[in-house]
Amino acid sequence: MSGAPASGGRHLLSVADLGAEGIEEVLRVADAFVEVGRRPIPKVPALRGRTVVTLFAEESTRTRLSFETAARRLSADVVSFSVERSSVKKGESLRDTVETVAAMGVDAMVVRHPAAGAPHQVARWVDASVINAGDGWHEHPTQALLDCYTIRQVLAERAGLDPSSSGTECFAGLRVAVVGDIRHSRVARSGVWALSALGAQVTLVAPGSLLPSSLEGWPLSGVSHDLDAVLGDVDVCYLLRLQIERGAGAFLPSLREYAASFGLTTRRAALLPEQALVMHPGPMNRGIEIADDVADLPRSLVLRQVRNGVAVRMAVLFLLLGSGAAPSGAGELIGAAGE
């Protein structure tokens, strides 16, 4: 992202583009926006006059609302574009649609698309900053960022630290188990990369049929097919949604068997260390990957993840648009000022 020392581009397409330094910068700026969220008037004029379009070619509640809330709290104008009710229905191509929207003058496009790489394509077609809000099975960078933010916030609170003054040391050696439908999960791809870039040790836990066909290049410390064996020594148990609408059911003998072997049941939750965190990107399939009463335990961070999502997306929008016209090399200087 512009103005970011490590990241370089003006889009957010993949967590890998950010690097550890870029992730850290987003988390730091997000702290300031969490504070904004606590104010009597949780809105700042930072992006007044800028236009943010949310272009969603796939269903979503939380991501879309979260981005739109974030943009509004920055005083940007928000245009909401849903493929369901658009000329795409009349056969317009993605490129024509995107160029039409861009021609109306937008500063950022938040793109969700069922095809992996679609936001990268969009970034090539338009001048606006493009933010990947989930592309197929590929990536969902802002989800990974808000998960990292949430982990850091909780760990800082426990240590009695001010989250805003803590860096990313808390991730060093943090043991994270990512459990479930990894094959169909863009959250897993972005999350694993972000967490391990910050120094966490990530273990995937899934039935063989729900792992990607190749794990080459994944920065992992292990892969397991036995959840019970892993739970005893993890700091974070990250459950993924079984993506039944992407046909995950066909990879399994039955949903009941999946819940029995890989769901976080009440019995399994008791195996977790006292301090372990339970996370889920939502929407939850209660009774499948997470038992009803486990989802509502105090250690479950599901709602906190959603709350932090707005602040983290504000940080992303602000970093992309707020420091947009920065002269080259300025990022370095600001980076120096922060030290």
Partner: protein, 189 residues
């Protein structure tokens, strides 16, 4: 803060080279004690007074004024901090990032707010701070205390309490801390 941003931001970016020590640590302390007394004198007490230090340079000064007031008047005055990054008018012109956390003590409706900053220069930081404060309620009045007024205003803003009036060239830099005030230059890297 404005000082620091300008110092590190192109086209004026570069390294700060100190030239003259203008005020010593003792001078700064004396000025802060005087400003504390002036705040009490002007407002005939400290009723509803809140000190807000602008991040980052104004924060230690606001805290020091707060502790002086506690000694002088025997009441503790809430001291908050404010980062005005999101209210600046140069967002998109050059990189603006929040430097530190905002912590405003409660609702400011009816409060007498004394903004504290290290250097008053163009007045744009103060303009941003006034807009930011409005989001925390309608203060009864807002006053401005600065350690150094160096001139070159670009907006109709004036300070209520000044540590030192210091005419400067526009390309000079002023560095303020509790250890003293130093006038220097920026040398390109």
């Amino acid at each position: 803060m404005a000082e620091r941003e300008r110092r590190l931001t192109p086209p004026r970016g570069g390294v700060f080279v100190p030239r003259v020590q203008v005020l010593s640590a003792e001078d700064v302390q004396r000025a802060l004690v005087r400003i504390a007394h002036e705040i009490v004198e002007r407002n005939r007490g400290l009723e509803d007074t809140v000190l807000i230090g602008l991040q980052t340079g104004g924060v230690p000064l606001a805290q020091r004024i707060g502790s002086v007031l506690e000694v002088v008047e025997g009441t503790s005055v809430p001291v908050g901090t404010l980062d005005v990054a999101f209210y600046r008018d140069d967002i998109g012109i050059r990189p603006v990032l929040p430097e530190a956390v905002t912590d405003v003590p409660g609702d400011l409706s009816g409060a007498l707010v004394v903004l504290v900053d290290d250097v008053l220069f163009t007045g744009r930081t103060v303009r941003a701070a006034l807009n930011a404060l409005a989001d925390y309620g309608r203060a009864r009045a807002v006053q401005l205390a600065v350690m150094v007024d160096r001139g070159h205003r670009e907006l109709p803003i004036r300070p209520d309490f000044v540590g030192k009036n210091m005419p400067t060239r526009i390309d000079e830099q002023v560095d303020v801390s509790l250890d003293g005030v130093v006038l220097g230059d920026v040398v390109p890297r």
